[in-house]
Every structure is written in C-alpha cells, then in structure tokens.
C-alpha cells in the first residue's frame, strides 16, 4: 500500500511543479512580464495598466458600460504556444490563481464575459484569451486574461495543459498585477 502511495505521490510531483520565473521588466514601460517554458508549451504573461485595458476596449467602440465591468480585474496580456510536435490542449476552467491567504480562485472565462456582455446586449467576444483550445503543431493564441484582484496584488497562478493523454501543471509564484497607474518620469529641469 505504502509503495503504491509513494508511486502515486512521485507521479503527481512529476506533473505538478511549483517554481518562480524571473520577471522581465520592459525598459520603456516599466511593466513586468513572465515567460515560462515547458517541454510542450510556452506561456507568457504581460502586465497591463488598467488605463491601457480601458483604452483598448474603448478604441473598439465599446460602451463605457462594458468597460466598467472590467474595473475590478487585473488584466494580463497572455500568449500560449504549442511547442511540441503533437497536439496540446488547455482549459482555463482548470487553472487557478492563489491569493496570499492560500485560497484558490477560478479565472473568469471568455464565455462568462461573453455571456455577461450579451446580457447587456453587447455581443462582443474578442480580445480575451480563448478559454479552451486544442492546438495542432505550430498553433498559438494570445489575448487578455482577467484576474479579480486589485492593482499591484501578488498572487500565484496554477496552470495546466494536456499532451499525449497526460495532464501536467505548474504553479508560477510571485506574479503581480500591474500598478493602478504608472509613475510619470520626472525631469531635472
């Protein structure tokens, strides 16, 4: 029994890795990004200022009513790629963000946003990262991921992906939401 449990634990640990990825700071914007490389996929998260997110939605001609629905969320530009020579899939419904109190939270999905906006009579479903994809070779996606946290909040993200019938997961620690505003560079003059 102990042997079976040990095997199970080892198998689980091989598929569940917690790690830190050193963030990269954009020298022009000061925004941070995290780039995680796995054998099968790569995942990149890019901090976005709340005002930038508002501007992106606003420039699509979307009404303030819709833009206001995003005000309690911190938003990341997200790029996920299939690096393997086979199909890879992911489901954001399986992903969790973990707050400082150790609690796990679901990520609001694209279809949940689309439903909320459709209920407001705004049939908009773009800009957000697709919540579920089966990638063939060379496929990749990009879009916004929304996390219901205040600006500058620290959290961890547990994400998962499936490849050749196996689901793997990884937790990225010490991620942080973009600040509410960016400090304006001061001049010596």
């Amino acid at each position: 029994m102990k042997f079976i449990l040990s095997c199970f634990l080892i198998a689980f640990m091989q598929n569940a890795i917690a790690s830190e990825v050193t963030p990269k700071k954009n020298s022009r914007t000061g925004m941070l990004s995290w780039h995680a490389e796995e054998p099968e996929i790569s995942l990149e998260l890019i901090q976005l200022l709340p005002d930038y997110v508002k501007a992106v939605f606003s420039s699509r001609g979307l009404p303030k009513e819709l833009i206001n629905t995003l005000q309690d969320y911190c938003v990341f530009g997200t790029i996920i790629k299939n690096k393997s020579t086979d199909t890879v899939s992911y489901q954001i419904t399986d992903w969790r963000y973990i707050t400082a109190d150790g609690k796990e939270h679901k990520i609001k999905t694209k279809s949940a946003w689309a439903k909320q906006w459709a209920d407001m009579n705004i049939p908009f479903r773009w800009l957000l990262l697709p919540e579920k994809q089966e990638f063939n070779v060379g496929d990749w996606s990009q879009g916004f991921t929304t996390i219901k946290l205040a600006p500058a909040t620290l959290f961890s993200l547990r994400y998962s992906w499936s490849h050749q019938g196996k689901t793997k997961q990884r937790t990225l620690n010490n991620l942080s939401c973009a600040p509410a505003t960016m400090a304006i560079p001061t001049s010596n003059n």
Binding site: L49, S59, Q133, V137, G138
Partner: protein, 180 residues
Amino acid sequence: MLASQIKKFLLPTLLSISSLSFSSAFAAEGLSYHLSPVPATQSVDFTLKDMDDNTHRLKNYHGKVVMINFWATWCPPCRKEMPSMEVLYQKFKDKGFTILAINQWEDIDRVFMFSADLDTPPTFPILFDQKGSVSEQFGVQGLPTTLVLNKKGQVVYRAVGGRDFNHPEVEKIIRSLLDK
C-alpha cells in the same frame, strides 16, 4: 490645471507606449508556416459583404481552393501575417485559388484605414462579419484563425495563431490541393 494637462498629453503618450509594448511583444514573435491537416469536413455556407458592398457566398467558390482567414485590425499577429497572405494570393490567384479575409466586429472605415497604411495592401476580398456569426459557425475561438478548403468546399487544413504564408511549405500545400 496640472491634472488636465496630464490627462491631455501624458496619458495618451503612456497609453501608446504601453500599447506598443504589448503589440511588440507579439510582433517580435517569429511566425511559423505550419498548417495542420484536419479530417475533411464540409464547410458551412455563408454570405458576407466586402468593402465595396459586393456580396460573396462561399458556395460560389466551390471548385476553387479557398483560404479563409478570420482577423481584426487590433490583432497584432493578424496584421503581421497579412502581407504574406497577399504574396501567396498573388502567386496562385490565377490558378484557382482565393483568400477570403473575414474581419470581426469592425467597420469598413477602420479596415480601410488599416489597409491603406500597409506597404502591401491586400487585394483579396475582405469580408465583414460584424456580429461574429460566421466565425461562431466555424468554431473560431481566437484570432487569427485560418482554414484551407479544398475544391469540394471541405475544410482540410487549419492554423490557429499568426503564420508566415509566404513559405515554400504553404505553397506546396496549395499546389497539391489545386492539382487534385
């Protein structure tokens, strides 16, 4: 006074810097040329209008090899791959191949401004799916998504995410579909 100046001058500047940052993160990515074969399935039919208000029905393209590209001007990889689509179109347009670029959500003015700004403006039809109903019928989750249909109107290749279509491997696929 200071607040209004910040709002008027600094905020748009910062937004554009931030925007450039997000866009360039995508733009810096090298695009692959890989189109994945998918089990042949008969395509749904649709009718959409182009920039000149001409109507295009997919069924009328049967007998041709058709590349359908779902895109939007705000999508950086869509913008990046478009010139390579135009090169591919120029190579095969007289041999029974066409591209239908189906724009999502946007209006003609925005797309016109975008096209005019390109070094190689697209000459293939750009169609407007303003309510996203056609992309939904095709199960498109994200942009860009590209489908290749054989002469029978069956979807036979798919690519999710930006691609470099100006590549010998893509040409080989198009040529083989034209020869069938």
